[in-house]
Amino acid sequence: MQGAASEVLCGHCNRENPLVMEQYAQLCGFLALGLVLGAIPLIVPLFISPRYEGEETRQTYECGVDTFGTSWMRFNIAYYVFALIFVAFEVDVLYLFPVALVFQEFPWRGLIEIALFLAILSLAIVYAWRKGVFKWSV
């Protein structure tokens, strides 16, 4: 508290103490707890719910008619194109987070780099737009 507190540390490097790792471990703990707790409401009904089984109980639902074939079949390619642009975007947006965090430390350079980066990224949208992906006519 005396003296040591007068110095302002870097915002992102002073968190490397063991306590921080502990907190990430606790986050993983919450995820694991979520998995366990998520299973409970699925197990409880097994003991208290009825178990009727008629001829058509376990048929795949198809609005009352008999099920026709499987559902694991081909579907519109446009979904794939969306997934592709999404991956490009999402990964690139992740790179923008570190840039945004140290934005203050590189005046102008940060802005120019973000602009260049986003401009190149936007070409993906422009290309898909011209190809008619958004009009659903791939």
Partner: protein, 351 residues
């Protein structure tokens, strides 16, 4: 030094490192809150929709039907879990759990008040988006594993919509991150160590707005609007509820789920509503900060006001067609949020 904002005491500090106690209290609190929240929100949604349509909604069970959803839950608990024959077993059975699992971890990272924090994690903003992504995987597992045509169509649409709207969501959050690091830095007293506020920590973002005395929605109205629209789409709610458009797809990706399995998806949907609203509260509306009233009142007041807005939204606008929905995201929201981000960066440089 005494007038610097301080980093909050977390729950782990209060229980002085006793891990069992920590997990027990945190899990009980979060699960209790989320269950009550889901029961309340479903009732609220039914009442709001009823009154918007000049009906009364549930009236029989309890005062104005408040206990209706409790009765519904007990009914669902005792319903048979019908499992179709043609499913992909591991995917089908795991899907509700995968949708549910990240929920506790997400909620644990929020600052409900300046001294009411469960986990203080620097990357909490990024982690909230990551956990949101896990839910999308769960939805796709459900749709594909069911081997049902409606479920598959619903899941395809849902995944396409969710991943698309995640980009404007993150880009608009990014302009807040940029704002925190580009403005005059706010120094935080963290256990007697001074450090500047980090733009990617939910707690720090709230502290910054509290210290500056104004909310980021004032300087980022466009980002706030984009965030709100994208968040409604992220939660698969009307007018963006094409994944489970009842008139076309029965119930979308959870067509083949009954009883408690269905309830888990429902629970996750309402929990996601509260999570995206909490993120909006922290990013744009100052988190717990506000005059006179204590922090939690402000935090939850803002959150439920946003949720009320989402419900109003749902019963006001007609459902979009799927191609309109996708092109709205890619040709309007994403370019707009990129421009907004660049303008924010430019203004911050000129300041």
């Amino acid at each position: 030094m005494s007038n610097l904002p301080t980093a909050p005491e977390t729950l782990a500090d209060y229980v002085s490192g006793n891990l069992w106690l920590f997990f027990a209290i945190a899990t009980a609190a979060i699960m209790g809150y989320l269950t009550l929240n889901a029961l309340f929100l479903i009732w609220l949604e039914r009442k709001i929709s009823a009154h918007i349509q000049r009906r009364l909604g549930p009236m029989e069970v309890g005062w104005h039907g408040v206990l209706q959803t409790v009765a519904d839950m007990l009914k669902l608990l005792s319903k048979q879990l019908v499992t179709p024959r043609a499913i992909d077993k591991p995917l089908y059975h795991l899907a509700p759990v995968v949708v549910f699992a990240p929920v506790i971890a997400s909620v644990a990272m929020f600052p409900f008040a300046e001294d009411l924090v469960i986990l203080d994690i620097e990357l909490s903003l990024a982690y909230v988006f990551v956990f949101g992504g896990i839910g999308i995987i769960g939805i796709f597992m459900a749709g594909w594993g069911s081997n049902n045509k409606y479920a598959l169509l619903g899941a395809m649409r849902s995944v396409a919509q969710n991943i698309s709207y995640e980009i404007p969501l993150i880009l608009s959050a990014l302009s807040v991150v940029l704002l925190v690091s580009g403005l005059e830095p706010v120094i935080i007293n963290d256990n007697d160590q001074l450090r500047p506020a980090s733009g990617i920590s939910l707690i720090d973002i709230a502290i910054v707005q509290d210290a500056k005395g104004w909310w980021f929605v004032l300087v980022q109205p466009v980002a706030a609007l984009i965030y709100f629209i994208a968040a409604v789409a992220e939660t698969n709610r009307a007018p963006f509820d094409i994944p489970e458009a009842e008139s076309e797809l029965v119930a979308g990706f959870h067509t083949e789920y009954s009883g408690m399995r269905f309830a888990m998806f429902f629970f996750a949907e309402y929990t996601n509503m509260i999570i995206v609203s909490m993120v909006a509260t922290v990013l744009f509306f100052g988190g717990w900060s506000g005059p006179l009233l204590p922090g939690p009142v402000w935090f939850f007041g803002k959150t439920y006001l946003l949720i009320g807005g989402m419900m109003w939204f749902r019963w006001t606008f007609p459902r979009l067609r799927f191609d309109q929905l996708m092109s709205f995201c890619w040709t309007v929201l994403i370019p707009l949020s990129i421009v907004n981000l660049l303008v924010t960066a430019l203004v911050l440089e000129l300041l």
